[in-house]
Symmetry: C3
Subunit: 348 residues, 3 copies
């Protein structure tokens, strides 16, 4: 990263400098690890005390911070601003060379767009279509008839099964699998007979898929991941699931067959969804919840089985009070016994 | 798919047509997505209302459905019948060409059966034995001395470690791993010393393994998956686990070391089993359960820690009543106070 | 394995023979599966009754076992002793040949140490450094600028992203991914804008990583796995997580961003940690716990949300007593009603 003046950065971000606008920074860093020459940021108020002791030359902060031992660049959204700086100023991920590596294995019946990069050992089967400026890292696999839009990236070891379609600007991290058979069997009296999975998977524009994710193809029709949705590592998405736009699915979530998640849904890590549910737009789920009911739009649910978050908080609170309740009941029992004894006496 | 007459399909399925037996269908489809020319089916009663509005030309249904806006083919098991139709009539998954691709890397000390298909970039190590009609997709790896029966399929990126054995008709989906070292260490006073994992994994006939699954080799002896068992995506099976025949293990389940599951066991998604348990035949487990006890044959268990399903339902019900109980106790307290006051007065 | 006399094995282990020191054993086996000629062991007292019926020629046991139908070798730690015997006497995992396979793809700008083994189809990118005696199995990928210490092993399908560093004697099992992008986005008003993940991952000496594990690179700085730590299959480790030395992380655990685990922490299977927590040295977590608070050193926590194990046991016990409590309260209600009736009468 070449050195930048704080006033240049503030200009780029539309922010204002407090301190020396001519001070130079050379690299981004975390608030604790920062050394002189670094630019850091403060987004989470939890870390505010660490601003007082940071060694950074400058920090990007929100409107309510006014004092620090370093220069400040004030912006509306420090998190986003810092992301822009890192992307703009820092280095980029290394990629395979432009063109098709001589040890890539690309079918003569595949179609490649302009300025694609296909790494060594990558495989592109017959009928596949790779859009402009796509990057296929070494060892990735694009199956028969699969279609990638423009500007897609497949990291090493990614497997795209036959006839799957990806939109534009889709990134898929290493060893993720898209289009494996859904888990469907019918007992035929002696064994689980396989139900053919002849559908596909459709991934929208601007989707990012994490490492080791598994997304099954539909029984028929499509498994769908909507545009702008982000899926973290090791998530399981079963056949015929449909996820809307701009959802966030954190690591190790599992979504069973035919369940539909709306737009903007946010799902914490390790949550499980039963099959055939409908989850409304912008619903949110606490990590590790087990969801076995459909959920209306905009609600926050928690727990296993999941319930509205407030109800879950009540339940948790009540459980904590059970031991107090047992003490209360014991005391009431003694008071009743005393009353009974007295009344017995007074009757004598 | 070439067009078929309904009477041809009914004949193939052993079913009966209600409606025009000469009507033609050209493709399978879901009940909601179906368009004219499609054949659909109704297995789950939940979807019965949708039959009234389907656009399909025909639907495969069970014995109790008698009316619909489309033609009907009545059979005993519509789910299974539809699976047969899809498999029989629809296209099949594309495969590598017959023979060994010139960019596959097959040891001269490996043994290949008749009519095998070994894709580009696939690796078969010395001592491996590949049965007749096996399909090894590009990028799959068969380790030293591993043995595959006849008609097996390894999808791209599958890793079969050394000396693992697979039965006949075993399918393993992309990026699954069979035969990695079990997780075993002994503290030697200064560090976790590795316990060598010198056993193997034995996969029975007709097993299907999902994408991204990890099955560890035994410490010694065998980790076993019984014939006809189906394992969904991202399941973890530890060393020395033994699973019986015809079990269903849904996605993201984890089974700790040396636990044994009987025949026909059904395990919901994200369930965890502690080590060294014995789970009887046909036992069933609700999704996300945490099983830390052995379970007798035929029982249904739920919850964390898991308990018999009825007991779990009681527990859940009781928890919901705790807040009512607190109200009740509060009222009792008031009535006792009133009684005490009265009795105090009457004694005066 | 060549035959050994029991006195040779006892000498190697520093143990003493009870029985015929000249008896020969040829292979290790489990206590139940053992046949004549086998040497077995007893570490878990749970299996003590099986010693009485084992067919093994000899068993390695602890100080308190004195009688068995087979010869005994008494040692302090039978588990560790047996591990040593298996490692010393049994065969080893087959490896690629010394040198670089002619179908490996190693950049001319990569640096290889002495006596490395690089298998067919393995890929080593420009700027990567591979230490002495490393083994890279077929199909593994080492990204641009990644650094491996000495004596590391990457099994097939492992993906090491750019600029990641591994210490000495690190083993990574098949299809694990180290260095994928952390899951970080900032809402920019219309979409989740990607926060660049420009940090790295640093893996200490003697770490073992299981199959299918995903470890994300830091947003900036480092995601750290300390020396001697062992990570089981399908674990998710998010960006900027720091794990200390000699920790044990069992399968399918998920650790959210920036959480720090101390030295010697032990985490049961399927546990989830929220982000930004600090977990003290030697803390332990029961399987499936959901940890949303920082935990002091040395404590055992359980449940979701996790709490100290004793508190969790109380909670579980109280929950079981709720149904008894409801019966008690019902009876108290009757007694109060009786008292009220009596007092009413006595007032008349």
């Amino acid at each position: 990263m070449k050195p930048y003046k704080l006033k240049e950065i503030a200009h780029f971000l539309g922010g204002t400098v407090i301190g020396d606008p001519e001070a130079m920074v050379t690299h981004p860093a975390g608030i604790r690890e920062a050394t002189p020459g670094a630019i850091t940021f403060l987004a989470n108020p939890k870390y505010a005390p660490e601003l007082a002791t940071t060694k950074a030359t400058a920090a990007i902060v929100g409107p309510d911070i006014t004092e620090a031992p370093c220069a400040l660049i004030k912006v509306d959204n420090p998190d986003l601003a810092f992301a822009k700086i890192v992307a703009h100023l820092a280095g980029v991920t290394p990629k395979p060379e432009l063109g098709t590596h001589r040890k890539a294995i690309v079918s003569r019946y595949a179609t490649l767009g302009k300025d694609t990069r296909i790494g060594a050992g990558a495989i592109v089967e017959a009928g596949a279509v790779i859009g402009d400026r796509c990057t296929i890292y070494p060892g990735a696999y694009v199956g028969y008839g699969a279609v990638l839009g423009d500007d897609c990236t497949l990291y090493p070891g990614v497997v795209i099964y036959h006839n799957i379609s990806l939109g534009n600007r889709v990134s898929v991290h290493a060893n993720a699998v898209i289009g494996s058979d859904g888990f469907g069997y019918a007992w035929d009296g002696t064994k689980h007979a396989k139900i053919p999975q002849v559908g596909t998977v459709k991934i929208g524009d601007d989707v990012e898929i994490g490492a080791g994710v598994a997304i099954d193809r539909a029984r028929f029709g499509e498994t769908v991941i909507g545009p702008g949705t982000k899926v973290d590592n090791l998530v399981q998405i079963a056949h015929n699931v449909k996820i809307g736009a701009h959802a966030l699915i954190v690591a190790q979530v599992g979504i069973a067959g035919s369940t539909e998640l709306g737009n903007g849904v946010v799902v914490g890590g390790q949550v499980g969804f039963a099959g055939h549910l409908k989850i409304g737009d912008r619903a949110m789920f606490m990590a590790q919840s087990g969801v076995n009911k459909s959920v209306p739009a905009g609600e926050s649910w928690s727990g296993t089985p999941a319930m509205p978050h407030k109800q879950w908080l009540d339940k948790e609170r009540n459980q904590k009070k059970v031991s107090g309740l047992r003490d209360t009941v014991k005391k009431l029992e003694e008071r009743i016994a005393a009353l009974e004894a007295k009344l017995g006496e007074s009757e004598k």
